[in-house]
């Protein structure tokens, strides 16, 4: 085995063979993990208990006993109109993901596989735009959304404001930066002979992109899709800012209107939080590899 460094702060000498088992390290890790798990574990426990056994009861919340059931989940689901808000989330996330990956892969191919004047400048502009705090743009953006016209299927009031279409567009504009950056790094690693071969075979630029390069980028696209799903699903701010009709709020933004209703009953609050957190947790546990790959593609290969 190769010698591994001892934990920080330990004075243990690093000599592979003589290394003692990491008792201290494990104790430390277990304590930290328990602390880290506590809030979610507490949420699960609270959500399974009726309010009557906890809140209006001398035993209080830190207790065992009483009933355990899923009533809080049912109530949160119905009272908060969660099915409706999940639908709105889907109407934002699906088109946004498709557009983001399509457009960012097109730009990434253009700037990394073809030489033209502005490609580095463009990449810088995209990356910088992605890093801007949203609040820097919101004042004029809000006015812009009130003024920009949009036709019927995409807008029921004729403008961009208070429309899911508008939410999709702002996600697209912001996330293009990150995805283009990651994908262009990815495309740069693909041998250029592939372009030559396609060119010799008479493939057009579009066909080279669509049938040759895009399929090669599948792992990166999967990683980005996982990551972007979580980010867009988790967006709270754009919904709050650019929507007004309560029924149109995606589920994370809808939490804002629910807070008043939930905060009088922590059991309901716990159940509601868990329902909303569930899709991202499932995606995380099912696609952990892609998820982490997406985050690190952007950081290690820059």
């Amino acid at each position: 085995m190769t010698p591994t460094p001892a934990p920080l702060g330990s004075r243990q000498v690093v000599t592979g063979k003589r290394q003692r088992p990491h008792y201290f390290t494990h104790a430390f890790l277990i304590v930290v993990s328990l602390i880290w798990f506590l809030p979610l574990g507490w949420a699960v426990y609270t959500s399974l208990r009726p309010y009557g056994d906890t809140g209006g009861n001398p035993r209080g919340y830190f207790s065992i006993g009483g009933a355990y059931n899923f009533n809080n989940f049912v109530n949160a689901w119905n009272q908060a109109d969660l099915p409706l808000h999940f639908l709105q989330t889907a109407l934002v996330v699906v088109p946004a993901l498709i557009l983001i990956l399509t457009f960012s892969s097109m730009v990434a191919v253009a700037v990394s596989r073809y030489s033209f004047k502005f490609n580095l400048a463009l990449l810088m502009l995209f990356t910088a735009g992605n890093l801007l705090p949203q609040q820097v743009v919101i004042v004029p953006l809000f006015r812009l959304y009130l003024a920009l016209p949009m036709f019927a299927p995409l807008s029921d009031n004729g403008i961009w404001y208070d429309q899911l279409f508008g939410i999709v567009m702002i996600h697209l504009a912001f996330q293009l930066g990150f995805c283009t950056f990651v994908l262009s790094n990815y495309f740069k690693q693909i041998p250029k002979e592939i372009n030559e071969a396609a060119f010799v075979d008479g493939a057009s630029v579009w066909r080279t992109y669509r049938s040759v390069l895009l399929p090669l980028a599948r792992p990166a696209l999967a990683a980005l899709a996982t990551l972007e799903f979580t980010w867009i699903y988790n967006d709270f701010f754009w919904g709050i800012l650019l929507l007004r009709t309560g029924d149109k709020f995606p589920v994370t933004s809808a939490l804002n209107n629910l807070s008043g209703q939930f905060f009088t009953d922590n059991n309901l609050l716990a159940a509601g939080s868990l329902i909303v957190a569930l899709p991202t947790l499932i995606v995380y546990f099912a696609l952990q590899k892609h998820f982490v790959a997406g985050l690190t593609l952007g950081s290690t290969k820059g």
């Binding site: 460094p5 809030p39 810088m124 910088a128 801007l132 939490l255 609050l269």
Partner: protein, 330 residues
């Protein structure tokens, strides 16, 4: 590279070309048909237009509007330029500004000095061949996939004065009901000063895992022979990390530093969902948002705060671009 006859080249090769150097320069594209050029133009043009139109145009708009007094009523012709008046008012006549500015700084300081090093420490520990390292990693990373709005809800579950974990735990341990009784219970999120610290703990809960994953990826890419060489030279663990591993991680350090700063400036959801960012939880992002969504919509004034935020964030952004793309341009 630039003399290559094939229709591609790494971006760096084209970086310096100016638009009108004449026909010779265009040779690079000569193998592409006109149709291909049009395709490429659209592939870049449409996304670039969307990005510039919805992000950079409003950014410039914020800067321009910050020098005007406009309440959003009436057309653009009602915009009046008033110089630096918004900024003067911001600094001297707007009580929420400095506390919010201070909170942003505290947020940044807490993330940079506590949460980020903690994430790094966890990464270093978990990078060793420890049994169950994947389980520990999963647990630490779990909060990262939650939105900050949900983190705000979960914070309520922990901190709420009569229903929260902490106070109920205190009752169970001490046997004294005063900890959850109204009047004597500690209101963790309702007491200015205290509540911001509690919010930072909740936000840090999420940030540590994020930093940990970034560093774990970096540590995996560190060549193990470097560590071996350091061990043979008699370096202890601490020396190996700070003198050998840490410098190799420079690219990750840049990313983590920038992510930490930008996240601190963007912070919004968690305080907004807890109490709309009032009562000690003010942040610059909240002030800007309130100036749009609030009753009195002071466009010029809100823009001035946005420009302050822009000025703070532009430094780290340029630093990041220089570090990640500067290398490429060479």
């Amino acid at each position: 590279m630039s003399s290559s006859s094939v229709p591609y080249a790494p971006p760096a090769a084209a970086g310096g070309a100016s638009p009108s150097t004449g026909r010779k320069r265009r040779k690079r594209f000569s193998l592409l048909t006109r149709r291909d050029k049009l395709t490429l133009g659209l592939m870049v043009g449409i996304p670039a237009f969307i990005h510039i139109f919805l992000i950079w145009l409003p950014t410039i708009g914020s800067i321009v509007l910050s020098f005007t007094s406009w309440n959003g009523i009436g057309g653009l012709d009602k915009i009046k330029f008033i110089g630096f008046k918004n900024y003067e008012n911001l600094f001297s006549n707007y009580p929420p500004f400095w506390p919010a500015f201070e909170n942003n700084l505290i947020w940044l300081g807490a993330f940079l000095l506590i949460a980020t090093p903690l994430g790094m420490l966890m990464a270093v520990i978990l990078d060793q061949n420890i049994k169950g390292t994947r389980i520990y990693q999963s647990v630490l990373y779990m909060p990262v996939v939650l939105s900050l709005a949900i983190v705000g809800f979960i914070a309520q579950l922990m901190y709420s004065p009569n229903m929260g974990f902490i106070n109920n735990f205190l009752v169970a341990v001490t046997g004294d009901p005063k900890w959850t009784a109204s009047g004597t219970a500690i209101d963790w999120l309702g007491t200015p000063g205290l509540n911001f610290a509690m919010v930072l703990i909740a936000a840090g809960w999420r940030h540590v895992g994020y930093v940990m994953v970034l560093y774990l990826a970096g540590l995996k890419s560190v060549d193990n022979t470097l560590r071996e060489a350091a061990a043979i030279d008699g370096a202890n663990a601490r020396q190996t990390f700070f003198r050998v591993v840490f410098p190799v991680l420079a690219p990750i350090n840049v990313v983590v530093l920038v992510v930490t700063i930008i996240e601190s400036l963007r912070a919004f959801d968690i305080v907004y969902i807890i109490n709309k960012g009032l009562n000690g939880l003010g942040l610059l992002s909240v002030l800007i948002t309130n100036n749009i969504l609030g009753e009195a919509s002071l466009i010029g004034f809100g823009s001035a705060i946005a420009v302050i935020l822009l000025l703070i964030s532009i430094g780290p952004i340029i630093y990041y671009l220089a570090r990640t793309m500067g290398r490429e341009a060479e």
